[in-house]
C-alpha cells in the first residue's frame, strides 16, 4: 500500500493505493487517525485500492467512529468497484459516508 496526502483548508485527502489487508492496517491508521484527531475532515480516496479485506473495513469503521466522536467526518471518495463490493457485503453502505 502506498499513499499521498493533500490538504485544502480543513480537508485532508488521503489517496490510498494498492491492497489493504491486515499487514498494512496499522500503517493506514497511522496515516488517517492523526488527521481525524486534528479535527480535519478526512476524504479517503479509494480509487486505486484494488483489494480490501475485513481488516481494511475495520479501519474504515474505526475512522468513521473516531471522526463522529470528535465532531468531524470521514468521507469515502471514488470507491473502486472491488472495495464497494466488500463495503456492501459488510452492509456498511448506509453507515459510512460514501461519495
Amino acid at each position: 500500500m502506498s499513499y499521498k496526502v493533500t490538504e485544502e483548508g480543513n480537508i485532508s485527502t488521503v489517496h490510498l493505493d494498492g491492497e489493504i489487508d491486515m499487514d498494512v492496517t496499522e500503517k493506514a491508521k497511522e496515516i488517517i487517525m492523526p488527521l481525524i484527531e486534528a479535527k480535519k475532515e478526512v476524504h479517503l480516496n479509494l480509487k486505486e485500492v484494488q483489494y480490501m479485506d475485513s481488516s481494511g473495513i475495520s479501519v474504515l469503521i474505526e475512522s468513521h467512529q473516531k471522526a463522529t466522536e470528535l465532531g468531524t467526518k470521514v468521507i469515502l471518495k471514488d470507491i473502486s468497484k472491488s472495495v464497494l463490493k466488500v463495503i456492501m457485503m459488510a452492509k456498511l453502505e448506509q453507515i459510512l459516508n460514501l461519495d
Partner: protein, 143 residues
C-alpha cells in the same frame, strides 16, 4: 457450467504471518485463473481464502511470531470446490468461532462473516498429525 478444467488440486505452504497474506492471494488467483468462473466469483473466493488465512494468523497463533507454516489446498472436482486449511496453532473450537452481529457496528469480527457469506459450508476438523486444525470451506460452483 463449463469449468475449463474438470479437476484441479493445488496446495502450497505459507509462513504463518500477516506478511504472507499477499502470497496467499497470489496463489489463490493463480489457481482460479485456470477455472472458467466469472471475475466477481473469483474475487469473492480469494477474499474468503485470505480471510481464513488471516484467522489462522490472528486466532490460532494470536498474532505471535512463528516459523510455523500453514498449508492451503484448493481442490475442484466436477464443480465442487473444496479449500482446506491446515495449521499447527492453538486448537480452534468451533463454538468459539462466530462473527459479530452485523448490525453491531464496530471494528473486527467481519472476516468469519465474509467467509460464511461467500462459501456454502465451513467445517472445523481436528487436524491429522502433524496438523492441529483443519478447516474446510466448500462451495458448489454448479449452483
Amino acid at each position: 457450467m463449463n469449468f475449463a478444467i474438470k479437476s484441479i488440486t493445488e496446495q502450497r505452504d505459507f509462513v504463518v504471518s500477516s506478511s504472507s497474506l499477499k502470497e496467499v492471494r497470489s496463489f489463490s488467483r493463480e489457481v482460479f485463473e485456470k477455472v472458467n468462473i466469472n471475475q466477481d466469483l473469483k474475487d469473492e473466493l480469494v477474499l474468503a481464502i485470505a480471510e481464513a488465512a488471516q484467522n489462522i494468523v490472528k486466532h490460532a497463533y494470536q498474532g505471535e511470531d512463528t516459523d510455523d507454516k500453514m498449508e492451503i489446498k484448493i481442490s475442484l472436482e466436477n464443480g465442487q470446490l473444496e479449500i482446506g486449511f491446515f495449521d499447527k496453532g492453538r486448537p480452534v473450537e468451533e463454538k468459539n468461532v462466530r462473527h459479530r452481529k452485523i448490525d453491531d457496528i464496530k471494528p473486527g469480527g467481519l472476516g468469519t462473516f465474509f467467509i460464511q457469506q461467500i462459501m456454502d459450508a465451513v467445517v472445523f476438523k481436528e487436524g491429522e498429525k502433524p496438523w492441529i486444525n483443519h478447516l474446510v470451506l466448500t462451495k458448489n460452483l454448479n449452483a
